[in-house]
Symmetry: none
């Protein structure tokens, strides 16, 4: 079974907006075992749309189209689909009543011809009733292909996918089961990880595919199993994850897309009733911002001192000036003094500190661009490690944030 | 001239990640007058890739491909491109030296065969040297089409587009002139802005297009002029911007894509020799992180206290406990005390403070979800303003950050 997702709209082709609809549709189809073979973005242009439709005819079982259903002149999807299907546009009375109610009852505006035209649909289409907007979705069949047309406004598209499109696809098509499992690893680079798990990967059964999804400081591994016996797929995935755990257990932090390091760390701190604070120089507050992006983080995170200036390190964090003079601001000694300083100031069980040079220039710190020292103050003492995260600046900061969170998570887990 | 952008990767087709690369590439091409005719996302599948390449052969002048260049087994773009071009993979000595230096010199790991294979490129390709990663970009020509292959990691792709691909395209192809001008506005919502500038917009000449690019707390207006006389385009754009300035001058903060509020504010502080510190509760360090994302920010930004816990407000920022008891943590009184507290602690000319409830729950603060107070301590006194930024959590935080930076920028500008 083959599905194609088509986005129509000039704003995507000039890069003005990022197409997020296609990912949502793909994820929804994937959940019911329908594979998206290809995604396409085309312009609001009659010939381009017609060409695209006929190239997909009988090649895709389902074509899901978003965009171009608005009321303005540049929206030509409906008219063009109708032309492609040799059909004519007729007014759907239920949609017209709904549009009238929305415009006159809700927005309190007189209804115009442009509004009324929203209720026009190809005569042979099935209307996908759009409760949350004025443009209806449409389900059309031609030979061996189903064409579904949806508005491009994300929440209207989502409403129609969930409430109208998915139920119809489920009842129309027989599909295999697809089960996914994501494994979040931290602290091992992609190629090193690939080497460590090579023989495990080589021995995966044919019906399981593995993908590597790297981002700064972490790699997500995604296993996808496909088959007709759903229970067997789950069992086999669990078995494979268990094997993987034996090889790289230390690097595995979570299993779900939502289980980011800040979420997993937050859960652990809450569970153990522990508190955390941070003293940040080169990360500039981003560790704090990442921790507080999790709702409920006030239960374990007391706060941070972003000590960008040397005086702040001395005056607020009580780092001895002699230490800075002797070792420079980017040093193990200063990082550890910062961690101890914030731990004491905020009276927390654990504390993290960072100092480094994120670049692009060497600055007065005398440390190479990309050098970062991460220190942890724990109830049992203070530890630190020096890294070099290269460049550019943005990457150095992101990697330092991820590394700091990873280190403290693994430290607390040990105790 | 016709360009196509192709993304390769199963993770996109199952909706696990949103493709942001294509929009970046389209925007970059658009700036130099190259129109993207279509965007495609295809799977990590040999036949599918080959089919796609041959369907674009001689139909597109340029095909820009991202993804599938990683070191792992699911990455097959390079091998498949090589097969398509009837070429063979050879080791590029410069790339090998760079990869070796990165792995051994920088990551301090022994180099492996997988790493070395990153230096393999089709013998007839031009290498686009990737300073910021291990996978090189490649420029290949076949008949009337240029194929460019880039890594999918966004910052590597961006580096190569800006430094290698765009300059080569500019020198290879004749294009009409497209001149863009971006106007950054802060503090007026999109529809109100549209109303205020309606008659200006209606009177724009035909060869100038206007786009609205809204994001939390700001709207960028982009003017694009297209024609054969570059000088005339610049002149007309300047004329139009001047007119616009007469209408909404107060809201305009910068004119360039790089002139974000944090960059413009930083320049202003530097120019005037002033310093800034922040005390953040609901923004959790994100104002500091935003300020320090600008290199050289240590010249004017001394640091921040992220006072997530009430005790931190009292102990570190010296906010009187009675004030909190009387007015609650989310209040004008507490926000102003925080601003004064950090101004004094860090001895800065200006200080910003935020306190609020970012949600999703009401919590113990008793303030409605979305409520944020922004306070500014200046050399002449302390000022504050209360906002409601709605929800979700992420949007509340982002809007609070933008609003705080906007307020202090406009305040300093006045003096």
């Amino acid at each position: 079974m083959k599905a194609t997702v088509v986005t129509i709209g000039d704003e995507i082709l000039i890069g003005q907006i990022v197409d997020t609809n296609s990912a949502f549709i793909a994820k929804s189809l994937d959940k019911i075992g329908i594979e998206v073979y290809e995604m396409l973005s085309v312009s609001d242009d009659r010939e381009h749309i017609l060409e695209t439709l006929s190239s997909l005819q009988n090649d895709s079982d389902v074509v899901i189209i978003t965009g171009g259903l608005g009321p303005t002149k540049d929206d030509i999807t409906k008219k063009t689909l109708c032309e492609y299907l040799n059909d004519e546009l007729v007014t759907d009375p239920l949609v017209l009543a709904h549009v009238t109610e929305l415009i006159e009852g809700f927005f309190k505006r007189p209804i115009t011809q442009i509004n009324k035209d929203q209720a026009l649909v190809p005569s042979k289409s099935q209307v996908l009733f759009n409760k949350v907007g004025t443009a209806p979705g449409m389900w059309m069949e031609k030979e061996n292909t189903v064409f579904v047309s949806l508005p491009g406004v994300p929440f209207e598209m989502k409403y129609l996918i969930e409430n109208e499109v998915i139920p119809r696809l489920v009842s129309k098509f027989n599909r295999p089961y697809i089960v996914h499992k994501t494994i979040r690893t931290y602290g091992i680079g992609e190629s090193l990880l690939a080497e460590q798990i090579e023989s495990w990967e080589d021995n995966l059964p044919d019906f399981i595919k593995l993908a590597y999804l790297p981002s700064p400081g972490q790699v997500r591994l995604r296993l996808s199993a496909r088959g007709t016996n759903e229970g067997a797929l789950y069992l086999e995935l669990d078995r494979q994850v268990e094997k993987l755990h034996e090889i790289i257990g230390e690097a595995i932090v979570g299993f779900d897309d939502g289980e980011t390091i800040e979420v997993v760390l937050g859960k652990l701190l809450k569970e153990k009733g522990l508190t955390l604070s941070t003293a940040e120089s080169c990360t500039g507050g981003k560790i704090a911002a990442t921790l507080t992006s999790v709702s409920g983080s006030s239960a374990y995170f007391t706060g941070s001192v972003v000590s960008y200036a040397t005086e702040t390190k001395v005056n607020v964090l009580k780092v001895p000036q002699e230490l800075i003079d002797k070792h420079s601001v980017v040093s193990v000694a200063v990082a550890e003094a910062m961690a101890l300083g914030i731990q004491q100031l905020m009276k927390t069980d654990y504390a993290l500190a960072t100092t480094g040079n994120a670049g692009p220039n060497k600055g007065d710190a005398d440390a190479e661009v990309g050098t970062v020292v991460v220190a942890m103050a724990t109830p049992n003492g203070v530890y630190s490690e020096e890294f070099n995260f290269g460049q550019p600046r943005e990457k150095v900061i992101d990697r330092a944030v991820t590394k700091a969170l990873e280190k403290i998570y693994k430290e607390i887990l040990k105790n």
